[in-house]
Structure formats: structure tokens, C-alpha cells
């Protein structure tokens, strides 16, 4: 029993430190973000379960005659993690409800696009507020003025992918893990990586409907005039990959295609 507990503890340690660090450093997740996200979920779930399992087995090895007492530490850890998940889910849902209420008062429905609101603000902003079937895509007036129709299509495809693929659920789970273990650097690393990978995945959806060069133009237009803020998130490796992927051979070919059929007047 003790040997099994030790073996499971080793698995837990591997999943808590070397495995996520290696995954975050690897280059392949930028090419296959969907697969990388599956691996992150597997690491998170298996890491938690192996930690709980190791605690339970160690408890049973130490106090085999009192099983109820023996599994108490494991049960406490499980309850701690689940409680954090519940707290984060409730807090985020409350913030989203407030944001939704503000949007109802301050934005107007987009004349043609469903579940899309237009915010009367000069800065170019696009985002989605994920709330299941009530999810909204929000576009600012500044964005609509600045983007060409094909660039806007790229932005909308990107945001729709976030909503349809329920990236918010994935992110909330990893944020809850981070909230439960705030001093554990790998939890923060996991949140940054997962957040970066869902952007790549949403970009991949957009790239299926528009050439890379169009998406690149949209990213530039939206990030323009926001130099002061650009530091935020820009240092995360996956955020850099997002831009660099568009600069690869495919982007050059796409740019050539865009040149052959001038979409921009």
C-alpha cells in the first residue's frame, strides 16, 4: 500500500512540475493548440486525482484500521479544490451578469449580426462575453470604423470560436486551480498557457474563413494606439507565437493571394 502511495505521489509530482513546464516550453502546441489543450486538461485532472489518490493511499497505509480517519486528508484536499472551483464559477458568473446588464443599457444591437452589440466608444475593441446560449459578441464603434469588412469577418470568426468551443469553461477551471494554489507557480503558468492556446485555436477558426494576412491586419488595427498597454500579455510565449504564426510561409502565400485579389480598396 505504501509503495503504491509512493508511486502515485511520484506521478503527482511529475504532473505538478516537470510535465507542465516542458509542455509550456515546447514549440508544437502553437501548431496544434487543440491537442495541447487536451494535454493540459489531462495534466490538470490527472495531477489533482493522483495527488488526492496518493494522500488517500498513504493514509490507509499509515492507519489501516481506521479508514475514515485515513482518508480525511485526501477528502479535505478534494473538498478544498472543489470549493475553489465553486467560488470562482460563482464570482465570474456574477461579474458577467453585471457586465451583461451594463451592456444592455450602454450598447445597441448590431443591425444585422445576431447576438452582437455595438458599443459607442472610439477605441477599437472586440470581445465576447461568454454566457452559454446568451453569449454576446461586442464590437466598438471605433472598431467598426477602422476595419475593412473582411477584417471584421476575421474578428467575428475568432470571437465566435471562443463562444462555440466554450473556451470560457476551460479557462474557469484552470483559474480555479490557480486560485486554490496561488503560491504554486505552475498553476499561473498553466493559466497563461491555456489562455494563449485558446487564442491560437480561435485564430485557427478565423484562418479557415479569411487569409492569414487579413487576420494579421485585424490584429494590427485593434492593437494600434494601445502601446502603453501592449506589455500586458505580450510577453507570454503563446501570445508571441500568435503573431509569429501569421508571419510564416502560409502568411506570405496568403498575402500574395490577397494581393492577387485586392480585398482592400
Amino acid at each position: 500500500m505504501l509503495a503504491l502511495a509512493c508511486a502515485l505521489a511520484i506521478v503527482a509530482v511529475l504532473l505538478a512540475w516537470p510535465a507542465p513546464v516542458a509542455l509550456a516550453r515546447a514549440a508544437w502546441p502553437s501548431r496544434a493548440p487543440a491537442r495541447a489543450l487536451l494535454v493540459w486538461q489531462a495534466i490538470g485532472l490527472a495531477g489533482g486525482l493522483s495527488m488526492i489518490g496518493a494522500l488517500a493511499l498513504a493514509g490507509l497505509a499509515v492507519a489501516p484500521t481506521r479508514p475514515a480517519l485515513a482518508v480525511t486528508p485526501a477528502a479535505a484536499l478534494a473538498a478544498y479544490l472543489l470549493a475553489h472551483l465553486a467560488v470562482v464559477v460563482v464570482r465570474v458568473e456574477r461579474q458577467r451578469r453585471r457586465h451583461h446588464a451594463l451592456l444592455e443599457l450602454l450598447s445597441s444591437p448590431h443591425p444585422t449580426r445576431k447576438r452582437t452589440r455595438v458599443l459607442d466608444d472610439a477605441s477599437p475593441v472586440a470581445y465576447c462575453l461568454p454566457r452559454g446560449v446568451r453569449s454576446l459578441t461586442v464590437l466598438s464603434r471605433g472598431l467598426l470604423e477602422r476595419l475593412e469588412p473582411d477584417e471584421l469577418a476575421a474578428v467575428v470568426a475568432h470571437e465566435r470560436a471562443h463562444v462555440e468551443q466554450r473556451h470560457d469553461v476551460l479557462l474557469v477551471a484552470f483559474r480555479a486551480w490557480h486560485a486554490a494554489l496561488p503560491r504554486f507557480p505552475v498553476a499561473g503558468l498553466a493559466v497563461r498557457e491555456v489562455a494563449g492556446l485558446v487564442e491560437l485555436l480561435a485564430d485557427d477558426s478565423a484562418r479557415r474563413s479569411v487569409p492569414d494576412a487579413v487576420l494579421a491586419r485585424a490584429i494590427l488595427a485593434v492593437s494600434a494606439g494601445r502601446a502603453a498597454e501592449a506589455a500586458e500579455g505580450a510577453e507570454a510565449p503563446r501570445a508571441r507565437d500568435r503573431v509569429r504564426r501569421l508571419g510564416g510561409g502560409r502568411a506570405t502565400r496568403a498575402a500574395a493571394r490577397a494581393r492577387a485579389t485586392p480585398a482592400r480598396g
Partner: protein, 127 residues
């Protein structure tokens, strides 16, 4: 179901119109005042409907009411500009867990990466 969705959507529009009236007014207004101001540019609305809308807005803390006066007087708790600022603060950062609430198209692009993209696009379009 479709009828219900349409009803909710129009209720949202109604809330927006009522808030616009309250934001434009310097003094607290009764439901009758709101009705009179709304009727300038739309078909008549029942006062009971407006009271429902006002109580919904009060529940969301966008409106406060003076219940000592008869009829009750309503006012916006904050200006439109304050609410826009709250919204944009949440969208553009500052709020600690903004990333948890909404997913933005672009979080940040470093100057170096932006320059790289610009070079790429210039080469693609100019050549």
C-alpha cells in the same frame, strides 16, 4: 419560445430608453414623467409597464427611488459616463480578473511583433 425571446429583447430596449430618459434629467422623475418623455418619440406605454421596468432597473442597482414621495420618484444611481467608464475599465484591463469575465480579440502585441507584422503586410501588398 420565440415570442418569449422577442419579449426579453424588447424589455432590454425599454430599459435602455428609460435609462436614457433618467440620465438626461437633472431631477428625479416619476413613472408618469418618464412616460411623458418617452412618448415624444414612440407609441404610448402603460405606466404599469414602466413601473415594472423601473423596479427591474432598481434591482440591478442602476436606479434608486424615493419612496417617501407619492408617486415614487426615480433617479439614475450614476451617470451614463460613469457606467461607460466601469464597462471600459473591465474591457481594457485594470480589473484584476478581466480575463475571466470576457475574452478579448487582442490582449497585447509587443512593438517588435507589430513591426514584424507590418513588414509582412507591406511586403505582401506593396510588391
Amino acid at each position: 419560445m420565440a415570442v418569449e425571446v422577442a419579449g426579453v429583447a424588447s424589455l432590454g430596449e425599454l430599459e435602455r430608453s428609460v435609462m436614457d430618459v433618467l440620465w438626461e434629467s437633472d431631477a428625479p422623475l416619476t413613472a408618469y414623467d418618464v412616460q411623458a418623455r418617452l412618448e415624444r418619440d414612440r407609441r404610448p406605454l402603460a405606466v404599469t409597464t414602466l413601473l415594472t421596468v423601473l423596479s427591474r432597473l432598481e434591482k440591478k442597482a442602476f436606479v434608486s427611488s424615493d419612496r417617501s414621495a407619492r408617486p415614487h420618484r426615480y433617479r439614475a444611481t450614476a451617470s451614463r459616463a460613469d457606467h461607460v467608464a466601469e464597462l471600459m475599465h473591465e474591457v481594457l484591463g485594470g480589473a484584476a480578473d478581466r480575463g475571466a469575465v470576457l475574452e478579448r480579440f487582442v490582449g497585447g502585441v509587443s512593438a517588435e511583433d507589430a513591426a514584424m507584422l507590418r513588414r509582412l503586410l507591406a511586403g505582401g501588398e506593396g510588391g
